[in-house]
Structure formats: structure tokens, C-alpha cells
């Protein structure tokens, strides 16, 4: 039982924090958001320079193989700074999936360019009816000649438009709600039949709906064994949810600090509003909820690689519930306590609030995970 971080981990967190504070100020981010693509390649290259794109890539392929606790520390800081670059998708989700698919050729092709930050590879699994239920997969891949033909619609894929290459999940057998029959294909987003509809999400991030109409891919683009990808997809989702929880925890910490500062300086009725007990108790509750969220983020980071699938599922769903609920409470109360100022685009707190809100809506909200937790018996 040990809640301390290693020296290397602390160093990593310090490095990323320095980068965010020095090179990713609120104004810098605002300029990035104004750009057409809504995120910055320059920033991405800087992250690569710090080794962060290699964080979750196996050592055998030039990565650092750092693991979920290191990722958690990095995501805490990215939450604080509200990073809009595709780190979660390209540097967490994709490496986690590729590792679990155990396909030597795809690994040798993709990991080096992922680690170097050269190429952005994005997993597209979610569909309009997924809503957290990752065993839902309607996109189909039909065998045709010596390849496959893909048809389907992937929805709200974070940074789908930024992808130099897509990893599309598709069903090679079985029915929409079956875990069996799922496969993963490498797809060039410029291929005939692929339509990428990119847009911004309300939290400033970018996402895309990706339509696949009779998209032809060679058989060699299949990663891993046909029809057997579900466990890998589920495992990769769990690692990514852990990282997402850590991002939320970083945001809550920043939001609580901002609210405290604001209520200490804002005066009404001749005194700082922080002197009012009703606000003090609200902030005490915000602190309490963020502490519970932090605890669950630790649990998520530790358990997301547990070999026992139901143990993993329970821990990750429990974490997503607590973090979704805490994020909603902390975010809403932060806006409330900032009063009219909290409503403005000018203050970081409204941006933090929006990202917290978006995180709960991502990969299954608190209600979804509460139901999933209830349906998963303890091992």
C-alpha cells in the first residue's frame, strides 16, 4: 500500500506542468482555438519532443512503456491547461489498442511513427447507438476478393479529422450487440468512400463523424485476428477512461482553486463573499467531491490493467460514476460561485466547466456506468 509517486514520475509531472504553464497559457490556447483546425501541430511536435507521444508505446518499438500512473499524472496537467491536442486519442487510446491486438506487423509499422509524433493515428469505434456500450458495433466488414469492404458510420470520434490514419472497428461476423465478431482495420482517411465530417465540440475540442461507404481495404490492413478484437477494444477503452478520469481530476483541482481565489477577492455587502458560510460550505463540498474523485482516479489507474476483466470493469465504471458526478457538481457550483463572471468566455472557469461536462458525456456517462457497475458482479 503506497500512494507515493516515484522520482521519475514526479519529474515527468513537473516537466509537463512547466510546459503547460510556460507554453500553453490561456491566451495561447485561445489563439489555437481560433485556427482552422482547432489544435496545433507545433504544440504536438513539442509534446513529441518531451517524449509524451512515446509514453504508452512499448519499449521494443522505441517507446517509454510508462503505464497508466504516468499517464494519469500527465493528464492531470493537461486537464489543468485544457490541452486541445489529440493526446488522449493518439497517445493513449491508439497505443493501448495496438498493444492489445498483438499484431507484430502493424506494431512495427505504426508504433515508431506514433512514438515520434510523426503520424496521428485515431481509433474510430463509437457509433450513434454506442453511448458507452462498447459491445455495440454495427459497422460491417464483408470479405470481398482478397480484401474487405467496410460500411458504417462512426460518430463523434475525438480528433477524427486530425487522423493521418484511422483504426476502424468493424464486424466481420455475428450481430450488432455481440462481443464476438469484432475486427480492427487500418484505413486511410483519404480512401474512396470515406467521408470525414469534422467539427468542434462545445468544449473547444475537435471531433468528426466518419462515414464509410463501400470502402475497400486490402486483407493486410486487418490488425490481429478477425472477429477477436473485443477484449482488446474493451481493455483499450478502460485505459483511456482512466486517463480521462485523470484529466477531470486535474480540471476539478484547478476549478476549486479558481473559485477559492475568486470568492476571496470578490466583495459584496462590504466583505469578500468567501466570508459567507453558505459559500464556505459549498466550497467544502466541492473539495470533498474532488477528493473522492482523486481517490477513484488512483483506483482507475491501478485497476485498468488488472488481468481480471470483471474487477477492471467494476473499478473503471465506479470511477467514471464518481468522476462524472463530482465533475458535474464541482463545475456547476464553480460557475454559480463565480456569478455572472462565471458565465463569460473570458474566464478559464467556463472553459473548465465545459470540458468537465463533455468528459461525463464521453465513453458513457455516470448513469450508464452506474448501470454497468450494478450489472457486473464482484469477482
Amino acid at each position: 500500500m503506497d500512494f507515493n509517486f516515484s522520482e521519475e514520475q514526479q519529474l515527468l509531472a513537473d516537466t509537463v506542468r512547466r510546459f503547460v504553464r510556460e507554453s500553453y497559457a490561456f491566451e495561447t490556447r485561445r489563439e489555437i482555438l481560433k485556427s482552422t483546425q482547432g489544435w496545433s501541430r507545433d504544440t504536438w511536435n513539442e509534446l513529441a519532443g518531451l517524449g509524451l507521444t512515446a509514453l504508452n508505446v512499448p519499449e521494443a518499438h522505441g517507446g517509454l512503456n510508462a503505464g497508466p500512473v504516468d499517464t494519469m499524472l500527465v493528464m492531470n496537467v493537461f486537464g489543468e491547461g485544457l490541452l486541445v491536442e489529440p493526446f488522449l486519442g493518439a497517445a493513449v487510446f491508439t497505443p493501448a489498442l495496438l498493444t492489445r491486438l498483438s499484431d507484430e506487423k502493424a506494431a512495427a509499422d505504426l508504433f515508431p511513427v506514433i512514438a515520434s509524433g510523426e503520424r496521428i493515428v485515431i481509433v474510430a469505434h463509437q457509433e450513434p447507438q454506442t453511448r458507452g456500450a462498447i459491445d455495440h458495433l454495427a459497422t460491417r466488414a464483408e470479405k470481398s476478393g482478397d480484401g474487405y469492404v467496410l460500411d458504417g458510420l462512426k460518430s463523434v470520434i475525438a480528433h477524427g479529422g486530425a487522423a493521418d490514419e484511422l483504426l476502424i472497428t468493424a464486424r466481420t461476423s455475428s450481430q450488432t450487440r455481440d462481443a464476438d465478431g469484432m475486427s480492427v482495420f487500418r484505413v486511410d482517411p483519404t480512401s474512396a468512400g470515406v467521408t470525414v465530417n469534422s467539427y468542434r465540440t462545445f468544449d473547444g475540442q475537435s471531433a468528426a463523424d466518419i462515414e464509410l461507404k463501400a470502402v475497400k481495404v486490402p486483407a493486410g490492413n486487418l490488425i490481429g485476428v478477425a472477429g477477436q478484437a473485443f477484449a482488446a477494444i474493451e481493455g483499450a477503452y478502460e485505459v483511456t477512461i482512466s486517463a480521462l478520469c485523470a484529466e477531470a481530476v486535474g480540471i476539478m483541482k484547478a476549478v476549486n482553486a479558481a473559485t477559492l481565489d475568486y470568492t476571496k477577492s470578490r466583495k459584496q455587502f462590504g466583505q469578500p463573499i468567501a466570508k459567507f458560510q453558505v459559500l464556505q460550505h459549498r466550497m467544502a463540498d466541492m473539495f470533498l467531491q474532488s477528493e473522492q474523485a482523486l481517490s477513484m482516479s488512483y483506483l482507475a489507474a491501478i485497476k485498468c490493467t488488472d488481468p481480471d476483466a470483471s474487477e477492471r470493469k467494476r473499478a473503471l465504471s465506479a470511477a467514471k460514476v464518481i468522476i462524472g458526478q463530482a465533475g458535474r457538481f464541482v463545475g456547476q457550483q464553480a460557475i454559480q460561485l463565480h456569478g455572472g463572471m462565471g458565465m463569460t468566455d473570458e474566464l478559464m472557469v467556463s472553459h473548465h466547466f465545459k470540458r468537465l461536462t463533455a468528459i461525463d458525456l464521453t465513453f458513457g456517462d455516470a448513469d450508464f456506468h452506474l448501470e454497468r457497475f450494478a450489472a457486473t458482479p464482484a469477482a
Binding site: N4, H281, V321
Partner: protein
């Protein structure tokens, strides 16, 4: 960061399990596991068994006869003892007055009182709250006038828990009514309950239980040697005591046991022809309290390990108090709602006798409403949850 137990810790857990399996009296465990009242003689019997094992005081240092266990061992012990149905520790001697005697008592007081707390020979109770001094404890009025080598104590204490079984009471008394600040005129006295002039009057709570009392002091003569530390410095010791009250304040082990009982009950009850545990709304309520408890368990472990490394000043315990008591209340509420109308029949006497039968309906339903009513106290005592929020905002948020 690592949340797993070491081989030594797992061996310790096995040792605790074996001890509980062999030594915990089953009649006591049955009461605890079914939410039936635990009698004074049950507490004493269990304390004596623990004493024989050398485990009477898990949280004390070795030099005073404690186990000297570290935070992880304390956590494991709490978890295992709670799951097995061991009764809670009556905190007033072991967890409240003892740490004060160790830190501020003189060697004579330590030798006189501590061994008798360990053995269960002395049953301590608390003389803190008064009718006019609850959350604002420093406004207490019970007067102690110095006369030679004695104090003469006059006044009234209230919300005294289980004092009807106690032979000693520790009291906060006003020894200097003219001190410039309320906090400065208070002394900390140890008083023999058999001293003439002490009257204990029961307060019956809404669950029909006699758990709390009023204690009246009428010209009670207390030797000066029974004062802890210096005269008029009692507030310092009182605050120290309140800090130690937090040991295991989260009650994670007991809440896990109660969660198990809730799930058992929900599996036996039916709604729409299906077990209540499969009802989507009720299953979600159970799941919610379970995830809250999972988070509390980690928060508690974080606090324990910070305490072991002397990193935390202690106000984080307020988070544990608030969340822990909210979860305790939710569990009693859900159990009561799980049995529906059969929560209504009430026959306290059969519960007191440890009888699992009910006047009507399933036996497990009989104590649930009383437990629900009784559990309203947990967010009020030990510093109400509103006071805990004051502590968080002052000590942690710096407001």
C-alpha cells in the same frame, strides 16, 4: 503507487481471520450482523477476549500496551473484524480519554488508568456536551471550584453515551469563569461515577433505546490529582481528543458489512415478481452507495498513509466524517425501504434479546426502522457535519 497488500500484510490478514473465527462469540456476531442491539456485557466480554490476545488497543503505541500496528494493519483489522461481526469499539476509553492520558497525563495517571482501559475493567463515558453547549462546546458552564486539594463540581452534562454502564467519566469543566476568553477557563477532569452527588438520568431516543443520558453534578468532590495537565488548559486537551476521535471515523469496514446485508435483503425481497436486487431503480441506488463507499475506502487509505508519514495535519478527517456518515445513513435508509411495509412492525424487546424473530414479517426486517432512526445521530455527533464543513473551509481552504 501500489494498492496491493504485501506478503506480510496478507499473512497478518490470515492471522486476524483465524483469531476471529476461533474467538469471536457467535451470539455477539449474530447481533452485529443482523443489526440487533449489542448489550454492555457483550462489549465487555469481547474486550476481555481482545485483551487476552494482546489486541485490546489496536491504535495505541506498544509502550502503553497497544499493538503498535501501522495504518495498513489497522485497515486490515477493521475490515476483517467488521466483516466477521465483531462489535465496534466503545470509543470513550480506548480512543478518546486514553490518548489524552498518554499525551498529557502524569505517569501516576497513566499507570492507574491505562491498564484498566485495556482490560475492560473500567468503562469510560464522556462529559462534554451540555444543554447550552453543543457545537459551541467552549461555552460550557459546568463549574469546578477549587477547595484545597479538591474541586467541587456543579452542573449538567448531556448526550452522555452509555454512561449508565460507566464507572468513570472525563469532563470538561469551567475552572475560571473570569478568563478573558471562554476557551481559557476550562479544565479536564477524570471523575469516578460512584462519587456522591452524580445522578445519571436516561434519555430515551426515538428508536426506543436507552443509549444516552443526562448526567447531573451536585457538589461532587473531585481530587485535584484527577485533573489532566494544567488547570485552565483543558481546551487544548479537548481539541487533541477530538483529533483522535477521528481514528476510523470513516467506518469503512462496518459500512461494507452493512452493504452486504443490504444486498442480502434486496435479494430476498420481491417487486414486480422479481428480486428487488434486479429492480433497475433499486439496483442503481445500491450501486450508487457502493461506488461512494469504494471512493471513501481509497480516501481513507490515503489519509491513513499520510498520517503514518506525518504529512497530514488532520483536517482531512472531516471529509471522512462527512462522507462516512452519509454512507452509513444511506445504507440504513435503503435497508428500511427494501422491506417496505414490513419495516413498520415494531417490538424492541425481541431485538434486545437478540431474537431474530419478528412480531410480523421477516425477521431481518424487525430492527431496520429502529436502526434507520438511530442512524440520524451520526451526522450530528462527533462535530456535526456542518461543523466539519466549517473545519474544511477554515483549516484546508484557509477561509
Amino acid at each position: 503507487m501500489d494498492l496491493t497488500f504485501t506478503a506480510d500484510e496478507l499473512a497478518f490478514r490470515d492471522e486476524v481471520r483465524t483469531f476471529l473465527r476461533e474467538r469471536l462469540p457467535q451470539d455477539i456476531a449474530t447481533r452485529v450482523k443482523n443489526g440487533l442491539p449489542v448489550r454492555a456485557e457483550d462489549y465487555t466480554r469481547w474486550q476481555q477476549i481482545l485483551h487476552k490476545q494482546g489486541w485490546a488497543a489496536p491504535s495505541w503505541p506498544k509502550q502503553f500496551g497497544g499493538t503498535g500496528w501501522g495504518p495498513v494493519q489497522l485497515h486490515i483489522y477493521d475490515e476483517e473484524a467488521s466483516a466477521a461481526g465483531a462489535p465496534r469499539t466503545i470509543p470513550f476509553g480506548l480512543k478518546m480519554v486514553a490518548p489524552v492520558i498518554m499525551a498529557f497525563g502524569n505517569p501516576a495517571q497513566q499507570q492507574r488508568f491505562l491498564p484498566r482501559i485495556l482490560s475492560g475493567e473500567d468503562w469510560w463515558c464522556q462529559g462534554y456536551s451540555e444543554p447550552g453547549a453543543g457545537s459551541d462546546l467552549a461555552s460550557l458552564k459546568t463549574r469546578a471550584e477549587r477547595q484545597g486539594d479538591h474541586y467541587i463540581v456543579n452542573g449538567q452534562k448531556t448526550w452522555n453515551t452509555l454512561g449508565q454502564h460507566a464507572n468513570w467519566i472525563f469532563c470538561l469543566v469551567r475552572s475560571d469563569p473570569n478568563a478573558p476568553k471562554q476557551q481559557q477557563g476550562i479544565s479536564f477532569l477524570l471523575i469516578d461515577m460512584k462519587t456522591p452527588g452524580i445522578t445519571v438520568r436516561p434519555i430515551i431516543t426515538m428508536d426506543g433505546a436507552h443509549e444516552v443520558n443526562e448526567v447531573w453534578f451536585e457538589n461532587v468532590k473531585v481530587p485535584v490529582e484527577n485533573r489532566i495537565g494544567e488547570e485552565n488548559k483543558g481546551w487544548t486537551y479537548a481539541k487533541f481528543l477530538l483529533g483522535h476521535e477521528r481514528t476510523n471515523i470513516a467506518g469503512v469496514g462496518a459500512s461494507k458489512r452493512e452493504l452486504g446485508r443490504l444486498k442480502d435483503i434486496a435479494a430476498k425481497e420481491h417487486k414486480n415478481g422479481k428480486p428487488l436486487s434486479e429492480d433497475p431503480l433499486f439496483a442503481a441506488r445500491i450501486a450508487q452507495v457502493e461506488v461512494d463507499l469504494m471512493a471513501l475506502e481509497i480516501t481513507n487509505l490515503r489519509a491513513l498513509s499520510a498520517e503514518a508519514e506525518k504529512r497530514a495535519p488532520g483536517p482531512e478527517a472531516s471529509v471522512l466524517k462527512i462522507k462516512g456518515t452519509e454512507i452509513q445513513q444511506t445504507l440504513t435508509e435503503l435497508m428500511m425501504y427494501a422491506v417496505g411495509p414490513y419495516a413498520l412492525p415494531f417490538h424492541r424487546e425481541s431485538s434486545e434479546e437478540g431474537d431474530l424473530k419478528s412480531v410480523a414479517g421477516p425477521g431481518y426486517a424487525a430492527p431496520l426502522a429502529a436502526t434507520y432512526c438511530n442512524a440520524r445521530k451520526v451526522t450530528i455527533y462527533g462535530g456535526s457535519n456542518e461543523i466539519q464543513r466549517n473545519i474544511i473551509s477554515q483549516m484546508i481552504l484557509g477561509l
